[in-house]
């Protein structure tokens, strides 16, 4: 009996407070319909209370965001001229003094509480949503998959080799909210009806868990894009590609471009893995050595296992790069991989006298 009363009383108090909070949320956090004026031209009516990034997405305006709205990538910048409220401490690290002057904000941090007047860079309007079907899922290594997505009949996508798209991960299992995650396109830019992605498993990752454990061939999937300014610059400098893990994707797309357009710049691709079981696409890359006039592929293992029978380069990718490139050469570098690898590589490249404006990278 005592147990019953105790439970009842505690539950009653809990229910009362929960009810109170639900009511408060309904009435206090209801901002009604807010008007968003975009570039002084179009007006959208949006239900208030959500973040600007997501609110715009509902109206098919896609602002680039690699982190999916967590405020860690700093890509989703738009200028909020009126109604954005004060700049938040979560935004300041990603904005330059000049951007702050011009009212730039991170759209994932700005909440729509009232009418807004915003400016979105014109080029972002070419970004749109695509519906696709999974044509093929192929294992590249024990933790990396090659995903081919075919666009719906009659649809085509225009992107530049090196750019990325954002995959929409629907709700599944315990994941109750749609999320977007950025992946670089690995297929050639001339193939307009299909995009390929290289996806490496992140333990407990919302997106990669979905791709690895739930997604099957034939499933429908939505993505938007293309985004990013990681693409091949047009000049005659010698190219250094550096990638680790699934960072091979955009480099592969760039190599397709070089092969198709017969670009005869000297190019070397340093691909870093831990051991033989992480290495993939070696044959494809060797094939590029025949198709791209002056291309060389240098795979490197940092920790080869005895049964790998590894004959190639050993050591961290930074050490291998350091051994291969000359001081003060006319280089241009394209890097794709984890922040740690990229930061370390930039250090090495700079020590070789390569100026910062000739180093391009895509961190994930």
């Amino acid at each position: 009996m005592a147990v019953l009363t105790t439970t009842t009383i505690i539950t009653a108090i809990g229910v009362f407070l929960a009810g109170l909070l639900t009511l408060a949320e309904r009435f206090l956090l209801n901002y009604g319909i807010c008007k968003i004026v975009v570039n002084g031209e179009k007006t959208y009516e949006i239900k208030g209370g959500n973040h600007l990034l997501g609110s715009l997405q509902q109206h098919d305006i896609f602002i680039p965001s690699a982190c999916g709205g967590r405020g860690t990538c700093g890509l989703c910048k738009v200028a909020v001229l009126e109604g954005g409220g004060p700049l938040l401490p979560t935004e300041t690290p990603y904005l330059t003094a000049e951007e702050i002057e011009n009212h730039f904000r991170l759209s994932c941090q700005v909440r729509v509480r009232n009418d807004l007047n915003i400016l979105i860079p014109e080029e972002l309007f070419s970004i749109r949503e695509y519906h696709a079907k999974v044509i093929r899922i192929k294992d590249l290594t024990y933790d990396t998959k090659y995903l081919s997505l075919g666009l719906a009949e009659g649809e085509t996508v225009d992107f530049v080799a090196g750019q990325y798209i954002q995959l929409m991960i629907p709700t599944y299992g315990k994941v109750k909210e749609e999320v977007y995650r950025a992946y670089s396109v690995a297929s050639p830019q001339t193939l307009k009806t299909q995009i390929d992605l290289i996806i490496r498993r992140v333990p407990q990752g919302i997106s990669t868990t979905y791709v690895f454990d739930y997604l099957k061939e034939g499933d429908s999937i939505t993505f938007n894009g293309p985004y990013g300014d990681f693409f091949l610059r047009d000049n005659s400098r010698e190219i250094i590609y550096i990638a680790g893990g699934s960072g091979l994707g955009p480099i592969k797309s760039m190599l397709h471009k070089m092969a198709e357009e017969g670009i005869d710049r000297k190019a070397t691709f340093f691909f870093g893995c831990v051991s033989g079981k992480d290495l993939y696409f070696v044959d494809e890359m060797k094939e590029f050595e025949d198709r791209v006039p002056k291309f060389k592929f240098v795979p490197a293992l940092s920790n080869p296992e005895a049964n790998d029978g590894w004959q190639g380069e050993t050591g961290l990718i930074t050490e291998v790069v350091d051994r291969h490139i000359k001081e003060d050469g006319e280089y241009e570098a394209y890097l794709c991989g984890s922040p740690g690898m990229i930061d370390a590589s930039i250090k090495v490249l700079k020590s070789k006298g390569i100026p910062e404006e000739h180093i391009f990278f895509d961190k994930f």
């Binding site: 009363t5 505690i10 108090i13 407070l17 408060a24 949320e25 206090l28 956090l29 409220g85 938040l88």
Partner: protein, 195 residues
Amino acid sequence: MDINPIVIFFASISTSNIVLTNFLGMCSYLSISRDLKASWGLGQAVIFVMTTTTMLNFLVYKYILVPAGLEYLRYIVFIIIVAAFVQLIEMILERYMTNLYYALGIFLPLITVNCAILGVALFMVIREYTFLQSLAYGAGGGIGWALAIVALAGIREKVDETKIPKGLQGAGFALIVTGIMAMAFIGLSGIANIQ
């Protein structure tokens, strides 16, 4: 325990100040006291939360927990009530006082774990206060806390312009100032005393 509520009110602001005599609620007291404006904002929030939750906690304790013989659950119940109220205040601020909401930022949810608030509710039980006494104690405790943090923030803003030895910067200096302030408040003990 028939102390006049007015005496309790003034005593809990001055001589029985919850920060300066019990050293409760120190985390937000030290971390928010760098800026006068934000500390006054947090002080207002604490005054409101402390007054309302003390009343609520008193009612729940006296009319629900005691009759049901569940006094031993008071820690949990008090904490749930405080947590829910802080959520409510956060929503109210977000809606009507957006600037204050941004100024407080992460520290508003910290009121939930502000031990001064739970401390006041528990002292109220230990000292067997009546409703009016509890109300006076809650409001006085909140005002006392706000007074202490605003005083500290004022001092820290002035001190920012002077040179402090490196090892004493930040919390070290704030604690020394707090100690001196606590001694100064003892000087008021002739006004009212409840302990």
